[in-house]
């Protein structure tokens, strides 16, 4: 028995529901050494900013129990070089592309949206709003419903056309459904859940924070219960909104867990660092698992854990 394993996010179609997670696969070049990028539903590129960016000083990472902290600081070439080099290459691979953008001000996001509005071959835009807002004492956009919706509204206004906008939310908030509501009202077509949690590791030899920036983002299996909870809560509050789930998925079982909670697609981040084949393996395992549980269509498995809810 075969299964309809495709998924769609706000009208964008993907042959299967497994994506890379932004920042965990670069622009796909290195992973393409291990498998054809067309075997994944989409490549979500590393969040790109308006200008070239050096990122943070090292150490940028620390391993933690079943997870890791990172403070890469959005190192990247800036949107112009990115559109010149990375996107044509990705298109040549035949990969489905979701571009992730990040900014330090609402205006940055508007500029990025305008640069992207006529770029062909893009399936969706992921808007990483887990960035410090330089215009508001560095408070992360995603932690404030007004700042979050201002970003999404600016992107909406400037992107034009049909390109679905996926707002990527931070779990570091008191009530994630409040942020979800604000970005949906501002025009987000879908949500990406979850970005990393703010954490810290102190090196007990140097007796100082291990990362040069002190804090970093916690990812990996350790945070999976938080991701499942966030997806489940948001799905319960918004039965129809497309959700790209992520957070600690390392195998097909984990991906299935996020799908049952409400994810229409699942992005693979940290797991790729442990195993370059992770995303492809997960795709195969998830397909088998959906079949084994009797689903003839992937879409039927999405949010299945909510059946019978009031």
């Amino acid at each position: 028995m075969s299964i309809n394993f495709s998924t769609s996010i706000a009208g964008a179609f993907f042959a299967n529901p497994i994506f890379t997670a932004s920042g965990c696969a670069g622009s796909g070049k290195e992973l393409s050494h291990f498998f054809p990028l067309t075997s994944l539903g989409a490549v979500v590129t590393k969040s790109i900013m308006v200008k070239p960016r050096s990122g943070r000083a090292t150490p940028r990472m620390a391993e933690t129990p079943s997870g890791m902290l990172n403070s890469i600081g959005l190192q990247g070439p800036g949107i112009d070089l990115f559109l010149e080099n990375d996107i044509p290459w990705l298109r040549d691979q035949g990969a489905r592309i979701i571009i992730s953008i990040a900014g330090e001000s609402v205006d940055d996001y508007a500029v990025l949206a305008r640069k992207l509005r006529n770029v062909p071959g893009i399936s969706a835009l992921e808007v990483n709003i887990s960035c410090p807002n330089v215009e508001n004492r560095g408070q992360v956009f995603a932690c404030n419903p007004d700042a979050a919706s201002a970003v999404i509204a600016a992107v909406r206004r400037n992107i034009g056309g049909e390109l679905p906008i996926i707002a990527k939310l931070s779990p570091d908030v008191t009530d994630i459904t409040v942020i979800a509501e604000s970005v949906i009202n501002a025009g987000a077509d879908g949500l990406a859940l979850i970005n990393t949690l703010l954490g810290m590791v102190i090196d007990t030899t140097s007796m100082s924070p291990k990362l040069s920036q002190k804090t970093g983002g916690l990812s990996g299996p350790a945070i999976r219960p938080i991701a499942v909870r966030a997806i489940y809560q948001v799905r319960a509050a918004f039965p129809k909104i497309p959700i790209v789930g992520m957070g600690g998925v390392t195998n097909g079982r984990d991906a299935f867990e996020l799908v049952l909670a409400g994810a229409n697609a699942v992005s693979i981040g940290t797991a790729t660092f442990g195993n370059p084949m992770a995303a492809v393996n997960i795709k195969n395992e998830l397909e088998e698992l959906c079949q084994a549980r009797g689903f003839s269509s992937f879409a039927d498995a999405v949010s299945f854990a909510h059946r019978g809810d009031a």
């Binding site: 290195e30 050494h33 000083a57 391993e63 890469i72 370059p276």
Partner: protein, 282 residues
Amino acid sequence: MINSKAIQISAEIISNKKVGAYHHMVFSVGEMAASCRPGNFVAVSVGGASSSLVLRRAFAIYRASLRSDGIGLLELVIAPQGSGSKWLVAQDPGDQVDLIAPLGTAFGIPKEPINALLVGGGYGSAPLFSLAETLKSRGCRVDMVLGASTAGKIYAPLEGKRSVNSLTITTDDGSAGVAGRVSDVLSSLIRENNVDVIYSCGPMAMLEAITIISQEADVLHQCSVEESMACGIGVCMTCVLPVEGGDGVIRMTRSCIEGPVMDGNKVLWNKSREIPDGVWGK
């Protein structure tokens, strides 16, 4: 780009022997052994099925050889430090380990016979012995300096010693060889042996010290750097350091892809936990 020969395999452990402070481990890797060059590294998955360790560990390739009967062996020298390396050295012959190799850049091998000085700190000597053999086979003069905090941390196997013209040992505590650091003996060795190129591998502070000496002496310096790596295959951007590119622009450069072997003179040895001024995108 990623080393074009890199493959991911499940490799059987053939032997695992404690040598001083280190473990010498041999893995069966088949034909892949033939594509490993001195300076390349492997990224090893550690901890087993229900492990809390999510990242690979990087180790320099000590030696790799494809035998005529088709058996390919890859050898590592491992210092048990944290939980990952301790797990690895606790594995037994017959156990399988997931590894990706060869990764990263290799030491550049000169076409002409030159005078080379190889400098290793601690387990940093690991990639230098196969490098020495290659250089010798090209007719080079090869001198070697190995340093460590104490005698037990000098990794210098007998067969390795044979492949060099001279071996100088330094230890911080004077328990073997000259008391002091490798940098203390370099200048005179460079002069005496008319050194053209320094090849080095070891802690970042040592590499920085060697860079200064090599610049003063005006010799080339290829060093294998060691930054914390989360993926080893170029996708995470954790392993960067500021390096001047061919275009004169200083970029935060991935040491797993454009390294670990780099031109020491192009690295901005920055230990201040800051992005140095002048870096692209700062």
